[in-house]
Symmetry: C2
Subunit: 240 residues, 2 copies
Amino acid sequence: MEAHIMQVEIWTDVNCPFCYLGKKRFNDALIEFDHADQVDVVHRSFELDPTAPTGTSGNVIDHLAKKYGRTLEEAEAGERQLGAAANEAGLEYVVTGRDVGNSFDMHRLLHWAKELGQQEQMLDALYAANFADAEPLFGDTERLVRVAVGAGFDEAATREVLADEQRYADEVRADERQAQEFGVNGVPFYVFDRKYAVSGAQPKELFAQALSQAWGERPQPTLLADSDACGPDGCAVPQN
Amino acid sequence: MEAHIMQVEIWTDVNCPFCYLGKKRFNDALIEFDHADQVDVVHRSFELDPTAPTGTSGNVIDHLAKKYGRTLEEAEAGERQLGAAANEAGLEYVVTGRDVGNSFDMHRLLHWAKELGQQEQMLDALYAANFADAEPLFGDTERLVRVAVGAGFDEAATREVLADEQRYADEVRADERQAQEFGVNGVPFYVFDRKYAVSGAQPKELFAQALSQAWGERPQPTLLADSDACGPDGCAVPQN
């Protein structure tokens, strides 16, 4: 998980259907990429609604209708569109009955999983639990524990992380601060070696193209100063 | 340890006196840097002599004299110079009696420690064991275990990492491949957000200046494409 030649940072929220879809499309592009084994992918935290109260905000369609001033029919139609796009990419998507809510605890779990080198597994499990299953997920510690355990995480350790709301909270906020620095106002947001960015659940072909371009133009740092180093000929002060 | 605004990657070898000195001078600059809490430092592996046989290569002065065709007096004078520079920076330095050898196992330990979020502790302990103490270190598993335990690492876990030579070996090689990509032929080598680089144990003032410059000019990724994202106004296809 370390020191690959190119780093792709993906800002994401477990609440975000386009993030779920984008992850699949990006991965489809990545597995066909010639240098995939030299690409390090890291998922970073972004809360679509950091002001959402802790726990659940109730049924997703009711919530979207209320929040954006749409009718229930309009909100459901939007979800159906998202579901169709997800299905087309090979993903399951439950259109009605899911809940929505504050995702901060899930971002903490994702940072913990990253430390264990198992961030992909945690994110896939959370996405599946949220989008491919109607059972409420937000603010339900028992369900989060089941999801994590189902993805291979230790039950007691998962409970410990969930119980202490300070754990990985700084890491979540640091990701969000970084997103702010980059002017990110929507997710998914993909950053390639901090040089190029792509916003949104792009088609697989576009991700393939972005990977190629970012790879071909990956940065070479500019040397500001050179002296007093050890090299193959020993440790000597270079002649200036 | 994650997602700070600026990342500094430092290629280093535990065999390298200028790396030991550079770490102190860089840290002295970093603690006075205004945005220190937003800087993420990661130490990367570089073997000065990857062809060194596993274990110890014997006394450092004998080894340097033989390897670079110097007299023992010349080799010792070089070490005295390095020792004086280290002392001036506030570091202990044993001039004669230390050994030298293959550092691959130490790099594996450093990657393990990184995963635990304790890379600084491991590196400081290894530097001190190598440069501030005459007792042989290279290829001495028992001493490496004592050094790691003294720095707060679990004994059984340290033994496990040392016993399995495949553990973190890929990570060490990935760091070295990355160094090669950047044309690094000596260490320490400092890379700021993959945009700027500094080679060698520079004076603290130069590190301070490099930190400021890299911070002021930290990269903003160029947006290649924008669509289908979720933002504060919901999940919608942007108008192109």
